[in-house]
Symmetry: C2
Amino acid sequence: MRQAGMIWLTGVPAAGKTTLAGLIAGRMAAVGVPAEILDGDAFRKAMCDDTDFSREGRARNMRRAFEVGWLLAKNGIWAVIALVSPHRAARQAIRALAAERGLDFIEVHVQCPVDLARRRDPKGNYRKALAGEIQSFTGVSSPYEEPEAPEVLVDTALLRPEDGAALVLKSVAHLMGK
Amino acid sequence: MRQAGMIWLTGVPAAGKTTLAGLIAGRMAAVGVPAEILDGDAFRKAMCDDTDFSREGRARNMRRAFEVGWLLAKNGIWAVIALVSPHRAARQAIRALAAERGLDFIEVHVQCPVDLARRRDPKGNYRKALAGEIQSFTGVSSPYEEPEAPEVLVDTALLRPEDGAALVLKSVAHLMGK
């Protein structure tokens, strides 16, 4: 059994991370490469999360997702992690951990202008955040620090989801061919 | 890829859960059955655990271990979980979740008289608990509620670790042959 890697999707809420994660994992499974999605709210819920959305709370949630992803990856299952992960330092800490453990790591910046994300707002969270009903909401009351050198950039304002997924899968194929 | 199952080792501290988990996972790996261990303190640490050892804190930690084990098992990796898990109701909740998801589940009571565990005390935790330096320590200041109908009973006062592991592996083989 060969160790798998980790794909980390970062971007503002409603940027399209979940859609992309689904397409990536689905396409991998279709060609016999096992992959598991760890996705934002669902992951927090499954982990009985008691952390808040402060800088520290988010970092802790990211660390948890990393550790779970690591358990999967070391057993040959690609981990596709979709978390806002808005803070650069926390993302760098995750990347450092991956390097330490010899884990293939693909950071994907799922880019979307915040005003477009606000218009999409499939869960109604921007609306709630703007109304003050959600605190520390990225893109409204909490900053998103853009990745400086992600392995892949997917601009969801320009690309269809399938085309965005194809970009990520190209990097995966590259790593698998190493 | 066929779904794997979950082996849940419960017992007082120093009963021998970690030793048993290592032997079980090692023997499985040796015959090409992938298995991953989620073990007490290491698991709490990896999950950046902020829960205490209260009844609720333990239940939350158990739920987390279950969810991580589930992610592994649904991808064909056996989850070998070693947690004191002293409370019957919390164990029953885990068993119910496993049943709900159609997950093969083997509860193993790693049995050891508390006075023998206190004499073993490889981590020195009983000593610390008796000195009042650790609170809510199972077997000293917190009860262990024995399983009523575990799938396997391993009495570590009587059996060599290899023979205990063999008992568990028999149940695994039975489930895999279903």
